[in-house]
Amino acid sequence: MSKHHVTTNINGEPVEFLCEAQQTMLDVLRDELHLTGSKEGCGSGDCGACSVILDGKVVCSCLMLGVEAEGRKVITIEGIAQGDKLHPVQQKFLEHAALQCGFCTPGLIVAAKALLDENLNPTEEETRYWLAGNLCRCTGYDKVIRAVLDAAAVMRGEPGASVST
């Protein structure tokens, strides 16, 4: 069976790849393009570890076929920082110790960025519901939520919380 040729845009770069019809976007990212920052925690749309932003919306890349990327714009965890400048969400994850093992972290950061792209002033409850599709077994979400709310404050131009040292 011949492979499909797909032309797309990933993290701002034009990208072409070949994939099988049944290959998921997550498999394409990880196995064909070596963008292994997106993780597979379930492969069934339940954990959010594979979250990417597709034309501005968060999707589970494990539920998307590689061929569906044709003509679209995809942002993965590798495209969230600008060069060596971390996105405020990434910076705040570090400061708040919002990761323990770090496996859920790429998905959470992608989803949180998408939230803040849409709403720079989310409440705690809105943040919790937005991130309800991103499972984290390590942190109990406390520091994750604090990090996202703090990143929002910084992006609004407020000083942000200081993590006591």
Binding site: H96, Q100, E125, A132, R137, I145
Partner: protein, 763 residues
């Protein structure tokens, strides 16, 4: 040397950014499934669809004929090894059983048990071929429930399993692997002295550790027998030891590299894939990568034990406990080895009770072999003992926190399981809980508050660590414990504190088995304590050497040199007058004063400090749906000394959340054939962000004098109190006691319907 004086610390106790942090927020960290090797094959495991069956034959011809298939292995490709106790992982383990768990031998013992494995040129081909492996089974009767498995007429899993701990030795094989007892005083006597008695029965369900990263490994076996393993585990030395034994390989021929680990919680303290991948790689002559699907993780790995917990308390009217009894029947899964020992020991460890009787049963059934899960065993027994204590408090009309104060274990108390407590902080957790503003928040209708305490031993054990001074005055720490939650940061902090240099100038590395000395696995809440002790001692040896070098440069005696804030000073006016020499300056001259400056320390760390915690939980019950919402949660814990407080809080918050999941939602659902019905995150629901409130972690610091900085293990005890805390809060809210986990909406609804028959009739 010790550093117990908190005021003198500059680095320990602060909250710097972890050294592996940036890689983890930009997607660059390499977890188990993220590595590739040139020419590698993909492996896939074929698994049993039956709960219990004899394997009559395995035909691999069709699978082997699929283009791209390079090797297939079954148990015939793993050497048959004799029964032998292993002490390389967490909790009891037998090498022979572990081998049979990795690849079924003769019989399959649970739905999901591995029977064969394929290596092929793509994941899709491997999967297709695995499905073509033809196994002929003779299906046998199965048993899932722990008490069913204990019945005399239950289907027997192992015909060579005779209950240990019973005299005389039984003549008939059974599913009860062992019976253990602990006694203190004379329970019968104590029971007679009691003025109020209570007897209750509780049940817990096995739950999965549910780390978000599925098991994964990439291995390579060379033609000369040398092997490399890259895998996600809680200990590269554990992986090496198990693989060597299960495959008959010399340890020196295995180099195991720890991947970043995407959560373990005890569930990655044993091997599933690595031996199978090695066997495939050997046969195919190529590297092999295997990654489990989530379904395989649920069907084939973990879970934590569940079981039946029977509790009796006898007390005086003033609340003093005079007698207590605990019977624990714990699920081991398909092979012996449930954490029934710790379950028995932890249940009453918080209290000073004169007469105690404890009995535990380790019971096999047709479920996956249990693995450790955060304080293994303790959450089970403690759900029973701490729920029952709450029931006793209600009966005695004594405030539950007060009842705990009256009976709290203190310095010098002899615990029911043997030790006499020293330097413990249990009462301090009660004091802090009592004083916490949480206790004063008023509750509304259908809301309730529960208190529960818990204990976990924490362990020390074997660790090695090295500290290298680099030529520019920075330092490198090398150790061998996978970093599951910020331990690289803690190691670097302790070394920086001792060396007197900035945290950012010390980098900590977790090395492969050929690049650092032996470290027992990451488990038992041991790493900050034991490996931290090794790092501290190595840094101290480096300081001794640095002083020696300064003395050499100044031409004075090393005793006349002081080390402070990363600099050598003459110890006093008699030592001479010299400008202080910084670590960097000494490092620069190291070549001329005797060569590179470094130290390695290997220890068997003793004196781990016991961990105690007291939790306060507020819930609200939706009487329509039976849903329990956790409104507020405060977890007070004696942490000894928090090295990096944020990561200590994180351990507490994560453990509490897992406990709440165990309390309210999580369970395995088996169909009548013994097949797992909920092998996915949709149907096996772990807590999500919208289920949880913020969790306030209150760190009480009663330093452990056996650790240079006073650290105690912190990772496990947080999962011990939550189930009882939630149950006690539910009882407070609705006046009904929930004794069976999970306390899910259908169970709450049933309980509420009993309270409210008119509504039931109206529906």
């Amino acid at each position: 040397m010790t550093y117990l004086d908190k005021a003198s610390l500059k680095v320990v106790g602060t909250r710097p950014i972890r050294p592996d942090g940036v890689d983890k927020v930009i997607g660059r960290a390499a977890f188990g499934a993220d590595m590739v090797l040139p020419g590698m094959l993909w492996g896939k495991v074929a698994r049993s669809p039956h709960a219990h069956a004899r394997i009559k034959s395995i035909n691999i011809d069709k699978a082997l004929a699929v283009p791209g298939v390079k090797a297939i292995v079954t148990s015939a490709d793993l050497p048959a090894i004799p029964s032998e106790e292993a002490f390389v992982g967490e909790g009891p383990m037998n090498f022979r059983d572990l081998s049979s768990n990795c690849m079924a031998r003769g019989k399959v013992l649970y739905d999901g048990h591995a029977v064969a494995a394929v290596a092929a040129t793509s994941p899709a081909i491997a999967e297709e071929a695995a499905a073509l492996i033809e196994v002929e089974y003779e299906v046998l009767p199965h048993v899932i429930d722990v008490e069913d498995a204990m019945k005399p007429d239950a289907p027997v899993l192992h015909d060579d399993l005779f209950t240990q701990g019973i005299d005389p030795k039984p003549a008939k094989a059974s599913n009860i692997a062992k019976r253990i007892t602990f006694t203190k005083g004379d329970f019968a006597q104590g029971w007679k002295e009691a003025e109020v008695t209570i007897e209750r029965r509780y049940t817990t369900q096995p739950v999965h550790q549910a780390y978000i990263e599925p098991h994964a490994c990439l291995v390579s076996v060379g033609a000369d027998g040398q092997c490399t393993i890259f895998s996600s585990s809680q200990g590269q030395f554990m992986v090496r030891a198990y693989c060597a034994k299960l495959l008959g390989i010399d340890i020196a021929n295995i180099r195991a590299t720890p991947a970043e680990i995407g959560g373990g919680f005890g569930g990655k303290t044993l091997v599933y894939l690595e031996p199978v991948a090695l066997a495939l790689s050997k046969k195919a002559g190529k590297p092999v990568k295997i990654v489990m699907s989530r379904e395989e993780v649920f069907r084939g790995t973990g879970p934590a034990a569940g079981g039946v917990i029977e509790v009796k308390y006898g007390a005086k009217k003033d609340g003093r406990l005079v007698a207590a009894e605990l019977v624990v029947k714990l699920q081991a899964g398909a092979f012996p080895g449930s954490p029934v020992g710790p379950a028995c020991m932890c249940g009453f460890a918080m209290y000073d009770i004169p007469h105690v009787n404890i009995v535990g049963y380790d019971v096999v059934s047709n479920r996956p072999k249990v693995a450790a899960y955060r304080a293994p065993g303790a959450p089970n027994s403690t759900f029973g003992t701490e729920s029952c204590l709450d029931e006793l408090a209600i009966e005695l009309k004594i405030d539950p926190l007060k009842l705990r104060e009256i009976n709290a274990a203190k310095e010098g108390t002899k615990a029911a399981h043997g030790p006499t407590w020293a330097n413990i902080g249990y009462t301090q957790t009660l004091d802090a809980a009592k004083a916490h503003p949480h206790m004063k928040i008023a509750l509304g209708p259908n809301q309730g508050r529960g208190i529960a305490s818990g204990f976990w031993f924490n362990i020390g054990g074997e660790s090695a660590a090295s500290v290298y001074v680099n030529e520019d005055g920075t330092a490198t720490v090398v150790e061998g414990n996978p970093d599951v939650g910020g331990s690289r940061a803690s190691m670097a902090m302790m070394a920086a504190e001792v060396l007197g240099i900035a945290y950012e100038r010390v980098r900590a590395v977790v090395a492969d088995t050929s690049s650092t000395g032996y470290c027992f696995l990451t488990g038992g809440s041991r790493v900050t304590f034991a490996t931290g002790m090794a790092v501290t001692q190595a840094a101290e040896k480096v300081v001794v050497e640095l002083k020696k070098r300064a003395a050499m440069i100044w031409d004075i005696s090393p005793d006349a040199v002081d080390w402070k804030d990363g600099k050598a000073y003459p110890a006093g006016p008699n030592a001479g007058s010299f400008e202080p020499l910084s670590l960097g300056e000494i490092a620069l001259k190291a070549g001329r004063t005797g060569g590179p400056i470094s130290a390695e320390v290997s220890i068997n760390a003793q004196g781990a400090g016991a961990g105690f915690a007291t939790h306060i939980c507020d819930v609200e019950i939706d009487r329509e749906t039976g849903h329990v919402k956790v409104l507020r949660y405060t977890a007070v814990q004696d942490v000894g000394r928090a090295i990096h407080p944020s990561y200590v809080e994180g351990q507490i918050q994560g453990g509490v959340t897992q406990g709440i999941g165990w309390a309210l939602n999580e369970e395995y659902v088996y169909d009548k054939h013994g097949r797992l019905d909920n092998a996915g995150f949709l149907d096996y629901r772990i807590p999500v962000a919208s289920d949880m409130p913020m969790i306030e972690a209150v760190m009480v610091e009663v330093p452990n004098p056996r650790h240079p900085f006073g650290a105690r293990g912190v990772g496990e005890v947080p999962i011990v109190p939550p189930m009882a805390a939630v149950a006690n809060a539910i009882a407070d809210a609705i006046g009904t006691r929930m004794r069976d986990l999970p306390m899910s909406p259908p169970k709450l609804r049933a309980a509420l319907d009993l309270q409210d028959p008119p509504r039931l009739a109206a529906e």
